[in-house]
Symmetry: C2
Subunit: 362 residues, 2 copies
């Protein structure tokens, strides 16, 4: 299908009828090309971009490609999903960070993406602000979750944690992140995984991408009980989602470290080879780096879960559960887990412990 | 002296004959003006700036103004120093952070200062890299500190901490920092304190400024034994330095929080008034913010101490001690304290505990 393309004109809006700048197409096209160069198997090729018209000509993702979130609602297993997504995240994040960049390249790239400020502001509002205050944009499964939404707005410990994550989102230019890596930004078949829609991309904290993706898989897990039907209790599918979560982080972590080892004598300036010059110190700094990234990812993942239940834009995983009361039961479990994860994320030592905690909550 | 000025042409170099871009004059002038607007009593006025000629016309700091580091070597007490410097730091850091900026203003300002990449790279090398590896630029009081310098280069725990601080320096755009706020960048009289030379300024972590300044006061403390003479054992002066360190942080912290309280309903977007909407949650987030800033400051301060003993550019406090052996004794104590502070900074709960630890080391 390399010859067949699709014209993508920027006229989408953010769930609601939110006015958005046409300039976002520039950042979308630029990141599709950059990430596509780093992970060509998992990012559709851009054939042409017209900045004035905000028009992107890109690979047509032919059937049976469907949006991953729809596949998760349908209960379809994707055997290569963990491998593909961990590969995509490891490559795009590693190669746009100071582990690979020198600081001149890095500041130049950061500068360019500072221009995508409007979409960053939208994320700031919908992820880090609105769910924690009264906002006309917020909605939830009412009246069932009225008290739950109120509890979020009155939880000081939660507000403390979200403030730290918001500051990190606004201040820390760690890597060129996708910026909106939920399960609606991924198209899949049984053997293909394609990441689309990086219009929110900028130099931000890596954990925001990893967390968005893992958080949305956790939401998909908690929604499964609402999709159970006679003859399919979704128990096996729930286990597959949990395995996928565990494999995604573990494979990501392994690949990321492998890229670091392969490039440790390159021009990346975060960890210079003549300082980090023996196995002991390399292992120490790599473990510390991955521990911090893991906790960042859990925090951002939890923030994304909470906002999808009491904030403006919801996920199809829950929305497709027809009965309000049944949906509310699923959503409450997910919300409670999100709150726990946001507050207690630093206590988790590995993804296996997170998976166990998810099982306990369900 | 407002009518009298001085022409400052950018032909200085960094201690050594280090080639530096003339463009740094643009960032120096821009920051003098910005910081001067925020803290006019402690930043000399800029009358004229010519970018092509890299020429700054600014207030002439008339005698008896001298460089603070010279005053500290001479054993002169400055009764308003803590008050003035804490005021300067609180205002310049608060008003250029997301506690006061909205994110659009912030990203625009960050973008502009990304251009000062060459001077950031110089800091990265001399503060975060060279002291921890073999480098022709490094020097120390040899042979007395040969083993001490080697120990720094072989200390894995130290390298772990310096890596985290380097990443924060390179990635975190928290406020418009001076970037080189040592005691050589401050001119003083008994009642005037003027901060000069912000050529290294950019949007970076606040703790880098606070730490640079406090770290240099700690160096001045450890150098005092080398300046003791018959009839002046410097004991009282050492106590004055310690009081100044303690007052500087405590006054800074109080003023910073006061500015936050005064501006909490402004356009700053880090902590929105309708989320952080009661005394309990405001106190929680402010305590957490100041705790993190305190630990960042101690870390950067320690890094600056270490680099002044085993890195390229030294401080007059030690350099003016004529006897090598005597200088080495003072430097070793400062180095040991710097190492302790870098590794254990998160254990200190207040500046009083740091002052006690300094006294124990001396």
């Amino acid at each position: 299908s390399g010859e067949q393309g699709v014209w993508n004109v920027c006229d989408r809006s953010a769930g609601h009828s939110w006015p958005m700048t046409k300039e976002r197409a520039y950042f979308e096209a630029t990141t599709l090309r950059k990430h596509g160069g780093l992970s060509p198997d998992h990012v559709p090729q851009v054939y042409h971009f017209d900045r004035t018209m905000a028009l992107i000509g890109m690979r047509y993702l032919e059937p049976p490609h469907i949006i991953l979130s729809k596949g998760l609602v349908a209960g379809i297993q994707y055997p290569f999903l963990a491998e593909h997504m961990s590969d995509y995240m490891a490559k795009t994040l590693f190669f746009t960070s100071l582990l690979y960049h020198n600081t001149t390249e890095h500041r130049r790239a950061v500068t360019e993406f500072c221009g995508n400020v409007e979409l960053c502001r939208l994320t700031e509002q919908v992820v880090f602000s609105d769910p924690y205050r009264v906002s006309t944009f917020n909605r939830w499964t009412s009246p069932y979750l009225d008290d739950d939404a109120k509890a979020v707005r009155e939880d000081s410990a939660l507000k403390l944690e979200i403030a730290e994550l918001k500051s990190m989102f606004c201040e820390r230019a760690q890597a060129l992140i996708h910026g909106d890596l939920h399960t609606g930004s991924v198209m899949v078949t049984q053997d293909s995984t394609q990441v689309i829609d990086p219009e929110f991309s900028f130099y931000g904290p890596m954990g925001f991408d990893i967390g968005a993706y893992l958080g949305n898989l956790i939401l998909a897990f908690f929604a499964q009980d609402g999709h159970a039907a006679e003859g399919n209790d979704r128990k096996e599918y729930k286990q597959w989602i949990l395995r996928t979560i565990e494999q995604t982080w573990n494979m990501f972590s392994k690949r990321f470290i492998a890229l670091w080892d392969q490039n440790k004598d390159g021009h990346g300036e975060a960890y210079l080879a003549d300082i980090y010059n023996n196995t002991e110190v390399m292992q120490l700094v790599q473990e510390n780096y991955m521990k911090n990234l893991f906790h960042d990812s859990l925090g951002f993942g939890a923030a994304k879960m909470i906002r999808r239940i009491v904030g403006v834009a919801h996920v199809e995983d829950f929305e497709s559960i027809k009965e309000d009361e049944e949906r509310a039961v699923c959503e409450r479990k997910a919300l409670e887990f999100g709150k726990l994860l946001l507050k207690e994320r630093r206590k988790f030592k590995c993804i296996g412990e997170v998976v166990s905690a998810i099982q306990q909550q369900s």
